[in-house]
């Protein structure tokens, strides 16, 4: 059933997801939401890799996805720790209010 859907559609879906994620990461102000948008972008990448691997009958794409998922988990761990540090010092994780450095 899923095999009947042309690969192009998957790539289009991945493109749409990536764009939503990118726009969200740029326009949103809450750090957690920005981070969720970045995760969405990574998932769009995963979809593109799986589709490409499927279309090419190659395992490389699927293998890459495992690496991306692992790294995304690591990034989440480090990122949330950084957000907590900011929140402790400043009381907010709104990206607009974290603006000590500029010039």
């Amino acid at each position: 059933m899923l095999q009947d859907i042309p690969h192009g559609f998957y790539f289009i879906l991945s493109g749409i997801l990536f764009t939503i994620g990118a726009i969200g990461a740029i326009t949103r102000r809450n750090a957690i939401v920005i981070f969720m948008c970045i995760e969405l972008m990574l998932n769009a990448v995963n979809l593109a890799f799986i589709t490409a691997g499927n279309a090419l009958s190659s395992m490389d794409g699927a293998v890459f996805v495992f690496f991306i998922m692992t790294v995304a988990a690591v990034e989440a761990a480090v990122g949330l720790a950084i957000f907590i540090t900011i929140f402790r010092l400043k009381g907010t994780i709104n990206a607009d209010e974290v603006n000590l450095l500029k010039g």
Binding site: F11, G21, A48, F64, I82, L100, L101
Partner: protein, 485 residues
Amino acid sequence: MVVTIPEFAFRWIIPEIIVAVCALAVLLIEVFSGTRNSRRFSAFLALFGACLALYVTLALWNQQEDIFYNLYTIDDFGTFFKVVFLVITALITILSLRYTERGEIPFGEYYALLLFGLLGMMIMVSSNNFITIFVGLEIMSISLYVLCGLLAGNLKSAEASFKYFLLGAFATAFLLYGMAFVYATTGSLDIAEIADYVLSGDFYLTPMFMAGIAFLIAGFGFKTASVPFHMWTPDVYEGAPTPVTAFMATGVKAASFGAFLRVFYTALLPFMEGWSGILWVIAVLTMTVGNITALVQDNVKRMLAYSSIAHAGYILIALVTGDRALSSSVLYYLMAYTFMNIGAFTVVILLGKKGEENTDIEHYAGLAKRYPFLAFCMSIFLLSLAGFPPLAGFMGKFYVFSAAVKAEYYGLAVIGVLNSAVAFYYYLRVMMYMYFRESEMPSEEINLSFAYMLVIVISAWALIHMGIFPRDFLLLARKSVDIFI
């Protein structure tokens, strides 16, 4: 299917293994005895690991081997970069000895993270495959996200880490999407196989492939701090602890340029006309924006951040040419750039004290009267950054610009020379403050400890040596890029 990895493959990655083992040992030491003395021991362990790995890496020179099913490769290009990274890490460890004891970074993990960052860089430049490049890049980046925020209770440092993390993760997504597109159109993640496919004749230029290249440029451009992907650089460089800033400005930049060069000169070279135009624009923008913005900075650390953006622009000039032999100037430039930046940042560290970084240009006023030797060394670093003969910075710029002329990119060379003329202003301004201004602030004692002076003297000596006798270093760089030919 049983996958076997021949045991002898591991002997090629002994430097990486040494670095990883030392990093884990430092972590264990911190867990089981987190005292002041144990931290000093950790620092020496990190230094020892870097030196030992350097010794082993030097033995790999002239060796060529693809290992782990072509995921990883040992060649002179990678070895050259690894030597540079190991020297950088050794210098940063030495100067961190005092910096951490000043009480600003009370964590032993600092050295472990430095070593993990180093490990990531080493993996990145030796990778033959998108997967390993990505894994190396992430090991490096994630260590650095944490390193930036290590100043305990300092909001600026936390903010630097916050910004670097969000923008870094964003850029990683772009890099990965680029890799996905290139994989989808060429059917391989191995950069040598991609090159074969592109040359094979079955290849048609599709919009998807073009988009993939654009995303790759965006991803690498972010890590190398090129305009328009440079927004994070000044903030992060200013907020991060100064040794980490030096590490980022030299090591991370060199590693990103290494991977950039390998991907674009191996996998995508047959297809040069597609990307060299984009890089041309990025190079011009990077130089110009970096230099013009640096002109108005009163904070020396921030000025050095903008100057590092400008230097990325000069390096990109050589990348634009697409000529494999000329790309050796990138390697020479990166090596010279390492020493001038580490030296300059060490002086910046020396002028600060706990809680106060004293990076304002006013703090440099009258430095020559109080500490003539320090001011003299700082002048060497600044003049080298500006590109004043006979220092290494001049030779680096000379090779880069002559590469542009040889490849008949005359416009690019002219813009580059004009830019480096502009750059003289802000470097000389700091020197002017050091030598001709009276200090209006109460003068503070500077702790000229042996560790700092060692780094400063090594850097200054390296700059003079590489400037006067550039030939040996240039030959090494030439030999390293032979893999592209």
